[in-house]
């Protein structure tokens, strides 16, 4: 009965349009009252959810990403991508995917990626004759790559939600190969659609231009090396790497690129504070919700139910992917990770699935949720930038969904893709 109240209240409130974080908090209050627990539990669990050491990295990476985005790094990364792949069929579409992969390594956030790359690329693509729906669809699907490359703050959240025992360094390494496969799949998709729609081809700017633009973009790219290399080598923790990323971003954007003025800095602080507020409030409320689930022994029940339903690893992966994809469509990434990790990670372990590989699977299906209605935050960002209604995007996005779906299946059923690099680096 208490489980029904918890999940029922959440579903009803969500359907009625109550914001996700507040639906989670209100459903938790309803269950707490029904169970006769002291209502203070909500505040205690929310505080412990928000105020946890592992979480510190999240706002700091958001801040670093915002600084880099406003400080001129995105244009330089686009410049580099343009020199490398702009001459291929669907030129700017290919540039969009590659620039997203580069910028993902700077921001680690799909929303920041869609805003930074989309803000520059979508108007350029439209001006050069690309259809708006194509420009937006390429932008939002390629933003998924950011979820899998370091410093993906959702991977940090997954590690924390999994009890902190899953190595962040391993997770960072595990996402790289799937990110490359995803970028390749999206580039092929962008190419095929560009060919069908007859989009123009840009001339190759020459090797000298490639080198010049690489040098210009290298301070930004160095951040990826700094964060990933430092955490991987065990020199500093994920939180320390996030603080270093902020300091580095300030130095690069102020002293090297000379693009970040005092007004921009204040806007960066305010913007990243608002984003942090939205994300951490959801995480706090999801922590209270997750605590109640554990109290009500939902994870144990889920393991038993899934073991009964799916006899094999292949089946359990399929069932989990279907459930996680369905949940991802109406739940934002943060709450989904906090709520679903304690339920599904024990199931994955029971079937011999590596927690690191499962983390990448969680990122991927959560990412697909970010570009799927009704609560697809990246979809909304792209739609707003491109000024294309969501309904119109949905009519032509399916080849990109297909590509992302194929990559999800590859990552789910070929552990090598996510486990080879972390094992090779040990």
């Amino acid at each position: 009965m208490d489980i029904a109240i918890l999940f029922g209240a959440f579903a009803i409130l969500l359907l009625l349009g109550v914001p996700v974080g507040f639906s989670l908090a209100a459903a938790s209050v309803a269950a707490i009252v029904a169970m006769g627990l002291p209502p203070m539990v909500l505040v205690q669990q929310m505080t412990s959810g928000i105020s946890s050491t592992a979480m510190i990295a999240i706002p700091l990476f958001i801040f670093a990403g915002e600084l880099m985005m406003r400080g001129g790094i995105s244009e330089r990364l686009i410049g580099l991508a343009s020199a490398l792949v702009g001459h291929l069929r669907g030129g700017l579409g290919q540039v969009n995917v590659l620039a997203s992969a580069f910028f993902g390594g700077v921001s680690g956030s799909a929303i920041a990626d869609a805003s930074a790359i989309g803000g520059t690329m979508i108007p350029q693509m439209v001006a050069r004759g690309f259809d708006r729906d194509y420009a937006v669809n390429v932008t939002i699907t390629s933003a998924l790559v950011a979820l899998m490359v370091p410093p993906s703050h959702n991977m940090i959240l997954y590690s924390a939600a999994g009890g902190g025992g899953i190595s962040i360094a391993d997770l960072f390494a595990a996402g790289i190969l799937p990110a490359v496969v995803m970028a390749a799949a999206l580039m092929v998709t962008a190419y095929l659609i560009a060919r069908k729609r007859g989009y123009a081809v840009e001339p190759f700017p020459g090797l000298a231009a490639v080198v010049r633009r690489f040098i210009s973009a290298s301070p930004g790219l160095l951040l990826v090396v700094l964060v990933f290399g430092g955490v991987r080598a065990g020199i500093f923790t994920a939180v320390e790497s996030a603080a270093i990323a902020v300091v580095y971003a300030v130095i690069i954007t102020v002293a090297v690129y000379r693009r970040l003025g005092w007004k921009d800095f204040k806007e960066c602080c305010a913007g990243s504070a608002h984003t942090t507020g939205i994300i951490l409030f959801m995480i706090g409320a999801a922590s209270a919700f997750g605590w109640l689930m554990s109290y009500l022994q939902v994870p144990a029940a889920a393991v038993a139910a899934l073991k009964a339903m799916a006899g094999t690893k292949v089946m359990v992966l399929l069932i989990m992917n279907v459930i996680l994809l369905a949940l991802s469509t109406f739940m934002d990434m943060g709450p989904k990770i906090i709520i679903c990790t304690p339920i599904f990670l024990p199931v994955a372990k029971a079937f011999g699935i590596d927690p690191v590989q499962f983390g990448v699977i969680m990122m991927l299906n959560g990412g697909i949720g970010l570009i799927t209605p009704p609560i697809g935050s990246v979809l909304f960002v792209g739609s707003a930038i491109g000024k294309v209604p969501v309904g119109q995007l949905m009519r032509s996005i399916w080849p990109f969904y297909l590509a992302a779906g194929v990559v999800l299946m590859l990552v789910s059923y070929i552990p090598f893709l996510s486990l080879w690099l972390p094992n090779a680096m040990k």
Partner: protein, 174 residues
């Protein structure tokens, strides 16, 4: 994720006060963001350069983080930036749509008020305990939640009276 339009407010003193509070919350959240970066940056510097890890950086960073989170969340309530499921509200007739929006704001108001009251109680209960690594009271950890909760309730009440004509998350559907 930023506001794409001017935020409407009630006229007169109430409007000035609410706008001022919203600005103050943003400034506090931004200070928290910078404070967090400085405290954690100092931790790295002290650990690697001075070879002496200070104990105060972590509790202080966490305090800054909760402040940023709750102040940011409160401003996001005023701007109606929190993610929500809008499909039902979009297909409903205008009167039902207005009712659904009002209901959502009421729930936000109730949760904000609950956080304000229970957060305050927890702060009072833990005020005499000292936060490890600092000389600050442990109860201070609950102050951002209580204060942020009060602001959330206040801004949700404001939106009940002066709704946003087109919330940020619905702009895309225009």
């Amino acid at each position: 994720m930023h506001a794409t339009q001017a935020v409407p407010a009630p006229t007169g003193l109430a409007g000035t006060l609410l706008t001022g509070l919203s600005h103050a919350a943003t400034v506090l959240a931004a200070i928290g963001m910078v404070g967090m970066s400085l405290a954690e940056g100092w931790q790295v510097f002290a650990r690697y350069v001075l070879n002496d890890s200070p104990g105060w950086t972590e509790p202080l960073t966490l305090l800054f983080m909760t402040t940023t989170a709750l102040m940011g969340a409160a401003v996001a309530v005023r701007r109606e930036m929190h993610f929500r499921f809008i499909a039902l509200a979009q297909v409903a007739p205008p009167r039902v749509q207005a009712l659904l929006n009002a209901f959502a704001r009421l729930v936000v108001l109730a949760i904000g008020a609950a956080l304000a009251i229970w957060g305050w109680d927890l702060m009072a209960d833990n005020w005499s305990i000292t936060m490890p690594g600092t000389a600050l009271p442990e109860g201070l950890n609950y102050l951002p939640l209580s204060l942020g909760g009060a602001l959330i309730a206040l801004f949700a009440a404001e939106r009940l009276v002066v709704p946003l004509p087109t919330p940020d998350h619905m702009v895309v559907e225009d």
